[in-house]
Symmetry: C2
Subunit: 347 residues, 2 copies
């Protein structure tokens, strides 16, 4: 089958690899209808050391169940399903607590771990299929597919940032980053009732999409200038919640700069740094909280899916470029040089 | 009046300074009955650069109101009161939200800031007295004074660690540090219903006091050995909540090592470091939350005071050495070399 492999920084290739196949009785194999490229894939695209053997990549997809293992009971051939970016058993203590991304028997796609392959491919093996995949109940030609694809990662990830930062009515929010996750964080903050949503980003068109999604203030300035601007907008205080959707150290530092005393930084951008400021003046004296991590996507889908199906939640607008699967390398280039916000791949 | 001044590392002196006096209509002056030395004073005692002019020190006391400013209406001469380690106006947005330690018109004692003097003295000026001081309703010779003195800092600080780490029934807890704040954190965790409380510390007598306060497991090992031991006690997982009551980087690293995925580090030890590990493997992938800061003491006193008054909360046991005020330098030495857990100073 056709799949996307990464060999190192700026070296993504579309190649033929062995077909995905059932390996365990709890597996399913799905034929992928839509996959996409994530901001976190870009971190690897920009920095991964070169390898001789390509590594499969991609962790977002929806598709059609083609084959199921002998223990799979809740799915059948032909079901149109979405997969979260991690698989989970739905019954361990972490899953029962809603932290499916820490499932005791789970794992992540697209990193060659645990034999789970990447999703930027024609097909994928899904471990623990019954408790991982979610049936969508739409047809293969549904106009909702792009919106439903955001359930695999970016929408629940933006939602996670808002949830851990306890966004609600009367909360002021700053979203850092105008990528797909940042824009979904705007959607999530609005949906949870935030009255003030300040979006920080560098791209006029993305900021405007953020305004459509509910941002009340747009801040194109960065670094100290950006911090100053947000503070001006909030009588010097900063906001109760800051949703850090980038992952670079300067974004975290910006978050510290714009968070109000007693406030929470909900960090979902995968950190590209090991240490950062957490000392007395930056964080402690003002009782700042830092939270976040990989979203427990499976736990959030039930809440978000109905609003995509009824058309009220338009997260699918984050896709601004659609390419055939074999053009994935072009998709990476387009996202890396900011020509595209988020690239969808189709068969 | 007699007061304690710090001139630099290992240089604390007891000296005569001008009497505390009313400077603003909202001030009160109290005659101090009991003050004490804090672990955070020790950080300064160990590391403060030398100065020519001594700086007043101490931020915990209870005493008798001697004089009030013309705008003070809720207090009168002779009232026996406790003061939180910070003063606050009780009416700004932060105070109304319960974050009195970030009061817009407030400040901290014992750092020479805003004219508020140190509490290791015969008397102190208390700004914003009406909304800062709490009347205790006991007599000057009450046996409860040592317990009531813990309301100034260590008990609400331990409580704060537990509150921000969302300790409750079914929560497992690790407390790092067997100083007075760590022991009060054990009290707080027990009081909030934690079923498992693991106390990490190096002093057998303090650990035993921790057991009296409710610790279920005592771990004298430190560093990697200590982390390994806590993980053994928790089937490899660590605990939901970790209350970091030390403030050194190795204590924070230990906290990361013993916190369960999805768990919260409630940090109340004043950090003696500016940067620390917050990256993908130490924190992010497991959805660890870091919270905490200076406790909003004033906001917690109403909840904790009744249990000290009725004798059910025995936090006063943390005091194991009582010295006359002029012996404060000896008290610092005793705490610095761990001969004393917490030193009380009396007139």
């Amino acid at each position: 089958m056709r799949a996307t492999l990464i060999y190192g920084a700026h070296d993504v290739r579309s190649e033929e690899i062995p077909d995905a196949r059932i390996q365990s009785p709890t597996d399913a194999v799905i034929r992928i209808l839509r996959s996409c490229i994530c901001g976190s894939d870009l971190h690897r695209y920009n920095a991964m050391p070169a390898t001789v053997v390509g590594v499969s990549i991609g962790h977002e997809c929806l598709g059609i169940v083609e084959e199921i293992g002998s223990d799979v009971t809740g799915l059948g051939r032909g079901d149109l399903v979405v997969s979260p970016f991690s698989y989970s058993d739905g019954e361990c203590d972490f899953c029962l607590e809603g932290l499916t991304s820490s499932c005791r028997h789970g794992g992540f796609y697209g990193h060659g771990r645990d034999g789970a392959s990447g999703m930027q491919a024609e097909a994928a093996r899904i471990p623990l299929a019954d408790t991982t995949l979610v049936k969508l109940g739409v047809a293969e030609d549904s106009a909702l597919l792009s919106g439903l694809l955001t359930l695999a990662d970016v929408l629940p990830t933006g939602h996670h940032a808002a949830v851990v930062a306890r966004v609600g009515p009367r909360t002021s929010v700053t979203v850092i980053g105008d990528g797909a996750v940042g824009l979904c964080a705007v959607i999530a903050a609005k949906r949870l009732g935030a009255e003030r949503i300040i979006l920080m980003g560098r791209h006029d068109d993305r900021l405007e999409l953020g305004r459509d999604f509910g941002a009340t203030d747009l801040v194109p300035e960065r670094g100290d200038e950006g911090v100053k601007r947000v503070r001006e907008l909030t009588r010097g205080d900063g906001t109760h919640a800051v949703l850090e959707c980038v992952g670079h150290l300067d974004a975290y530092e910006q978050a510290l700069g714009v968070v109000r005393a007693g406030g929470i930084i909900g960090r979902v951008g995968v950190p590209q740094y090991e240490v950062g400021p957490i000392g007395i003046n930056t964080m402690f004296m003002r009782n700042i909280t830092l939270s976040g991590g990989p979203a427990p996507v499976r736990a959030y889908i039930d809440e978000l899916l109905p609003e995509i199906l009824d058309g009220s939640l338009l997260a699918g607008k984050v896709f601004d470029l659609s390419l055939p699967l074999e053009s994935a390398p072009e998709g990476y280039r387009a996202m890396a040089n900011r020509r595209a916000l988020k690239v969808m791949l189709t068969p």
